[in-house]
């Protein structure tokens, strides 16, 4: 019957149609000004960088930097919240103008996205329960110990490089799941950025931060590689708020101590 053939051809062409899909171009800086909306892809990975506070407000260091930015150019910030798996496609596919997460640039990642100059450097630390035999972070790297890390974060590669002896356990449930794993003695130590770890120290009185920092990560925003104007503009903006002291104010409040805890 000819119908059979026709349906097969239709189905086949439908499949190839999807495969040959290109990418759309949208949301250059000019569009931001025209539409009055700054669409930013964020990840709710936890305090103090990006989280939902006790009043249900989206806030955190990266978020407040974006809010400041939007206010300065008189546009509305629109936060598009994704799991880390959704961040990259959101920027590539034009859902968002840029991504404001604590993603760290490296040689391979910058092949795909363009990253701004770092607006802040953040120390990575290891933390553990006080009853573990650790003083410095290197102690937790010895053979026979295990370290918990957030799946997909740059710290995975860091651990593989710096602590090849230790057992590395990646948790898909984020920083809170790693802290819980440390508390439940499922891993001997956890790794996260200094500011997040400082938060855990308040939540878990029997934790302490191990001495030293295996790495200092640059924090950058990322754009599609063809958005050079936007990228330059972001770099300029960071320079401006660094010079007038507003960036430091925000960093002091959010990243260099528990001041934010009282309000959020």
């Amino acid at each position: 019957m000819n119908w059979n053939k026709l349906i097969m051809i239709l189905a086949g062409s439908l499949c190839t149609g999807f495969l040959s899909a290109g990418t759309v171009k949208a949301g250059a800086l000019e569009d931001i000004v025209k539409s009055g909306e700054l669409r930013v892809a964020v990840q709710t990975q936890g305090p103090p960088v990006s989280f939902i506070d006790k009043n249900g407000e989206r806030t955190g260091f990266a978020i407040e930097v974006v809010k400041l930015m939007a206010a300065d150019i008189g546009v509305e910030p629109v936060f598009l919240d994704y799991d880390w798996k959704g961040l990259i496609p959101a920027v590539q596919g034009g859902k968002a103008d840029f991504l404001a997460a604590d993603m760290t640039p490296n040689a391979k990642r910058t092949l795909v996205l363009s990253f701004t100059e770092p607006y802040l450097y953040s120390d990575v630390v290891l933390y553990a329960k006080k009853d573990k035999p650790f003083d410095a972070w290197q102690d937790a790297c010895a053979a026979g110990f295990s370290i918990g890390v957030v799946q997909g974060s740059s710290n995975v590669g860091l651990l593989k490089d710096k602590c090849p002896e230790a057992e590395i356990k990646e948790f898909a449930g984020g920083g809170a799941a790693v802290a819980q794993a440390v508390a439940a003695d499922r891993v001997d130590a956890g790794i996260n950025d200094q500011a997040a770890a400082a938060g855990y120290m308040i939540e878990y009185p029997d934790f302490h931060i191990l001495e030293g920092a295996p790495k200092r990560w640059p924090l950058s925003f990322g754009t599609r590689p063809d958005e050079t104007h936007l990228l330059r503009w972001l770099d300029n903006y960071f320079m401006l708020i660094r010079n007038d002291g507003r960036l430091d104010e925000l960093a002091d409040y959010w990243m260099r101590g528990p001041a934010w805890k009282a309000d959020h």
Binding site: P47, Y82, K85, Y204
Partner: protein, 223 residues
């Protein structure tokens, strides 16, 4: 612990409400689409049924996260205007497609479970195809569908948790965010999340059991 519960509860209730809305929309559209696909699969249209079989297997053989990725990120990349969905619409579409594969198999199994002899008898007393469906096949098939359909719905309710990837704040996402603020009470918060799913799913399963005692066990399907 009490304060952990009371501070997390409002967020979790918001999440539950979102889960409820998305799952209802999904159950509606997924069942509609599934009923159509299942009817075609049970019909003598061999080639169409084969293509729909591929559709069902492709969706069932891959994790749902990948469907969501395709609907939310890849379809807009085609540049077609009406394929640009927001996160909630994309979630409902992807979940409905996924649901339809299960519903289709339930519908097909139920339609095929009605004995052929009855259809032939109905035709021989002069009923048209439509009349046969309306008066003989569908009433019996519906009864057979009810119990497995309840199971499918409960799977869908829990399946909604994956849409948090595109930023929809449903119940699991709300629990995750509450746990970020209060990591030391993570288990309490996830326990509450489980209780809320239980409060939503358990009545569905109870109703199904009650219907099962009224109408019989229904069909078992390859889910």
């Amino acid at each position: 612990m009490i304060s952990a519960i009371s501070s997390a509860l409002p967020f979790l209730l918001d999440g539950l409400w979102m889960t409820f809305k998305i799952s209802l929309a999904t159950i509606f559209f997924g069942s509609l689409l599934g009923a159509m696909v299942g009817t075609v699969r049970a019909s003598p249209l061999r080639s169409l049924s084969f293509v729909l079989g591929l559709y069902i297997h492709a969706l069932r053989g891959t994790p749902f996260l990948i469907h969501l990725y395709a609907v939310y990120f890849m379809l807009p990349a085609t540049g077609v205007a009406w394929l640009q969905f927001d996160a909630i619409t994309a979630s409902i579409i992807a979940l409905s497609l996924y649901t339809s594969t299960y519903v289709a198999e339930v519908v097909r199994a139920a339609l095929e479970a009605v004995p052929r002899g009855q259809v032939e008898a109905a035709r021989s007393v002069g009923m048209s195809t439509l009349q046969t469906l309306r008066h003989v096949v569908v009433p019996q098939a519906l009864k057979l569908m009810i119990p497995p359909m309840g199971g499918v719905y409960v799977i869908i309710i829990k399946g909604t948790s994956i849409v948090s990837v595109v930023g929809v704040s449903e119940l699991v996402r709300a629990g995750e965010q509450a746990a970020q603020r209060d990591p030391s009470h993570m288990l309490v918060i996830y326990g509450l999340v489980a209780l809320m799913y239980l409060a939503y799913c358990y009545p569905v399963l109870r109703i199904v059991r009650w219907l099962e005692t009224r109408f019989g066990a229904g069909v078992t399907i390859n889910i």
